[in-house]
Symmetry: D2
Subunit: 371 residues, 4 copies
């Protein structure tokens, strides 16, 4: 179950939802970087369950602990290991699921693949695995902010059929997004979304939605233009988040309706800076898989949570047809908590592309490093 | 410019559009497999330019040559190298582009990244790079067909605003798709699409579109459920095809509007076989990043070709604002030729997931190998 | 500081000698395998300090804890995380070394490389890092024993100028080796070695030595014959153990004096089994980087421990010339404790080669799997 | 048959000895570097067969051709593909070997591993595979020389029992080494070595030997100190050269006889430069797997060529015991031709360590880049 990514800044997560702990090893880390645990904890806190009524009532404080790699507040080049203990063990709650394959969960596919599985709380398929990604992503965020001034902001753009569709006046900060529980910066739509979530929660159901993200101040030149294209790598990172079913960069599916003459982003020289810019940004910040210096624009689709408090037809591992109803405490909608996970995915891809570009073209750094 | 992919079945492409040759090295190949060059050539021929009036008039026969890895018609475990010469060198045609960054092309980003670039015919950013993918993908297809009975079929689902939106009665063979020049199996919509392409070609413009694909007979258990999820890997493989801007698996963006109770795929035991099946397939053939035995359903967005025969504002590498008009012979629409490229991307991901699964769970093979 | 190895069975160690913990993540693990923690602990106990008077008096029980990847005694395909806490924190002991580069230690090179370093107990350069290797290697050993019947045995072959040079009647079990404190199966030479170590310990000095290893029952066909040759991979694994300065396979340096006619290993058909065997084994169990079914024969050189209780000239990080004398409690000779580390290195290489071979040639398994 | 190495500067060789061609793809190449084909050819010419009477009389000019990655004399970041055609096809010469496993060759192990093999001229196990390594290594050499001033020189140190054992007055240039056919810079010993080779050649036999290498001007800080130790990586690179059976760094096996107080390399501050230096160099230029700025000192053992013109007992693939005598034209001693291969191996490891260090610690470059 390969659980690592990155060519240089290499992230490996471990842990199951109801095991001892979950965590992450970050390798390929420069020495001498400031390591601020409060920044890591900040992102984990945005991700954690039990934040408000829109998310699962499971309370986990998700306090992170440094196991290796930091000495007197700074990195020493060693692998950084971060661990979050699992406090909310209620394995017995899951005993009735031991032989059941829940619809649209990974119970059946894990069993078909590995022969032996843990039936407890999703185990490795739980969204709890993303704790490691978010922790590593927070450290990536700090590096990108400090060295290049890069800023990554995601928000909930739709819940069910309530589409805010925010493509102008994009949020300027995480505070703009965290202004309400659903993490949609548009107050009116946010209210409708919250209504929608409360509605499905009341009937024991769940609902999907979309997330948009913008990344600012990415210098031109990140990403490798064949198989490690920046769009491909971002797509993979986001599609590997549980429940994600779709990904767009720039104009996405809508852009397929355009002609070349209406879709192309014309270049111009920005008078103030002499930099090459584009007038429009249908490309979403990259061409040929390499960042072009414009805002990176991303959109991702998340299906409704599979766990619902309703009777469903399914099978057990005999296999026999059965009827089940899930107990437990689950998110009626994963979107608000997915916002920091999407940001982490983006930052992990970018920091690795940045380190790789430093390896190949060190003179590039002199031009683009934050002054 | 990392140009390799796959954990075990490792594919590395090389070559620029107007250099000596383009090609591919395939490593991680079992010994003793039949290698049928005609099968490779068949897929390259589906991809090659100059097939009909919908594609570029550049004629390249794209004849493939085996340089290594095959002995007396079979693999010997060695890296297989396949090369296609570039016959249509017209480097002088491109001299006027030496200092120009074409809009929505990768000219500027390559220069910003590498400092030195070839201005000739897109060089490495040319879709000609995909020859290597298609050649390797054809070999992957043969392995998947022979050993697991897997069948991968893609088709053009829309051109501009002409949407066939084929979600039932999916094509049963490549012949069903190749029945017309636009590679849309629905005759009425195909005709409208062809009209649309002719229309934009006449005015020197280009048009985008979408491709759908179905993969049949994938056994449950392929894909690794954290960062190497089957959906994430498929997404990356397809998003790394030039011009691709969006990817969906199963219900995709549409699925975000559903509730859990209307979206979940209920399991049942198939009476004839005793196999675990799902009644619906909104998951698109996988759960938790692992194939579940149902059809894999994919949709991909391709933007309009950036090269058009119209005046456009852009910049040169001084940089200064200029006006340009491209000459050359280009595809008004890449979609028909992208069909075999999408199939290759899928088959390359699947064969690697298959080999990885064999490494970990050899007993799995006994259950799922084609009888 | 890449700390991972293996193409499929992927091992990543983490932790510094005086941080919170050291440990290992093992990924690429099949599901459904028995996981016996006692077997892991057994190898860690052979490696741990404070075993007897020949090793450092530091006492660490090195008790291992499972953090992830095991459910009800068996693997589930998830990354297995094993952690050993650092109980013997005496950071203050090292305060006087904060600015000193100890001779033949990695203090200076770490600083030159990473800019910021931990001066405490060797940090990541400590042999304590090998705990993770030994833990993972123990699991690899179990897989190799269970599935192929492979047996790996290493022993101390020389200490200083006392050479046992055991090339016949190789030890048959770990018990044959653990029969004395120096882990040399030849009683007379063992006694002399022990004398030698006591002698250097008395004067605050240290001593080097060599280790030999034999691996039995390796089926033909493991190892990849270009850059991932079995000899190259074994060499790298063993040379990456702290203090190792040399590696030989089969006839090694001695073999360079031979002619082809006296060095070649002639093949014959073993009458009882019909198997292809060699009459001699100067190749050391492999040809062209692939195992040939004969015993794998390895020899490795370990320099004397750099830490000694004597005055030495060196420099501080100003830098200025200084004189230092190390305190602390150190091994006068690492060889006895290196025995299980060498075995772990070998088993990790073999299990990965085994899994890779299963991926490529599943039919091979049917022939060679332990009946 | 994984045939790639390097984390960033990624080298992949392909081709069999009597197939169409052999070659190499180099990926992870910066853009804008000068690419001098004459430098590549120079190293290939040092490696090629038929140079003089000490090597095989097979004449191959080994002329290299650029297939991709170079534009107007400079790199463009694309994969560089270099190909050398196989002109000396005499496949029929090998027909009698179709079913024979030659002693100490890889015929049997390839067959046991892959099921299907080419019996022609060693195929992938031929030393002809190293053409790709030498070509890529030559490019690595140019980068290391240009950017860091690194110089790598190897020479033949012994043939059979004739040991020059050159540890002082190491050669200063390739010219110092190429002064005679056996590539030993010590004229007297060179003469004896040449006699030895002529002697074994006369009786159809072969002979082994050792190679030493020195690398100068390596800045402190290259190599990663856990599993990617510089010594481990160098060891693997050299042990993966055909016929290599042993590797030493610094004091090697001899160093095991020392005590810590006689083996440790004391540091001092070099008055002229203020740099940290060591008085002795038993460490061989690295500590903890990281270069320390001193000369890197390497020694490697090569067994006698397996192919000899004498009757030998062996088996065929039935298998049955048989007697064979090899025809063909072979090297009585590979050592002289192995000199540039060893240098290539070293340079490939160093350039990759250099690029990786640039990725992590860009400020390091400012200190150590050749002025």
């Amino acid at each position: 179950m390969p659980s690592s990514w990155g060519k240089i800044f290499r992230v490996s997560t471990f842990g199951e939802s109801h095991g001892d702990s979950v965590g992450v090893v970050i390798d390929g880390v420069p020495g001498g970087l400031k390591f601020d645990l409060a920044e890591i904890q900040k992102d984990l806190t945005r991700r954690r369950p039990g934040q408000n009524l829109l998310t699962t009532p499971r309370k986990e404080d998700d306090e992170v602990r440094v196991v290796s790699g930091i000495f007197e507040g700074k990195t020493i080049g060693s692998p950084i290991t971060l661990i979050v203990g699992n406090k909310n063990h209620l394995s017995k709650d899951y005993e009735n699921l031991r032989h059941i394959y829940r619809p649209s969960h990974a119970d059946y596919t894990y069993h078909a693949k590995y022969g032996h599985r843990s039936h407890v709380g999703g185990a490795r398929a739980s969204v709890r695995e993303t704790i490691g990604r978010v922790a590593a992503g927070a450290f990536a965020r700090c590096i990108l902010e400090d060295e290049l001034g890069i800023q990554t902001i995601a928000w909930v753009d739709s819940i069910g059929d309530v589409f805010a569709n925010i493509t102008d006046n994009l949020p300027k900060s995480h505070a703009d997004v965290d202004v309400n529980d659903v993490r949609c910066p548009h107050p009116e739509f946010a209210e409708k979304m919250i209504e929608k979530i409360k509605e499905v929660r009341k009937i024991g159901d769940s609902i999907g939605g979309t997330i948009r993200a913008v990344v600012r101040n990415v210098p031109p030149g990140l990403g490798d233009p064949v198989y490690d294209k920046l769009d491909g790598d971002l797509g993979r990172a986001i599609l590997s988040i549980p429940a994600c079913k779709g990904f767009e960069i720039g104009s996405g599916f809508e852009g397929t309706k355009y002609t070349g003459s209406t879709h192309n982003d014309e270049f111009y020289v920005e008078p103030e800076t002499g930099r090459v810019r584009t007038k429009t940004n249908r490309s979403g910040g990259m061409q040929g898989g390499i960042s072009n210096g414009e805002e990176i624009l991303i959109r991702a689709a998340f299906k409704p949570t599979a766990t619902i408090a309703k009777f469903q037809n399914t099978v057990n591992d005999t296999p026999e047809d059965i009827i089940m109803k899930a107990g437990g405490r689950h998110d009626p909608c994963v979107l608000p908590r997915a916002v920091p996970i999407v940001e982490a995915a983006i930052n992990l891809v970018l920091v690795d592309a940045y380190f790789y570009q430093r390896a190949l073209q060190p003179e590039w750094l002199a031009v683009w490093k934050k002054k």
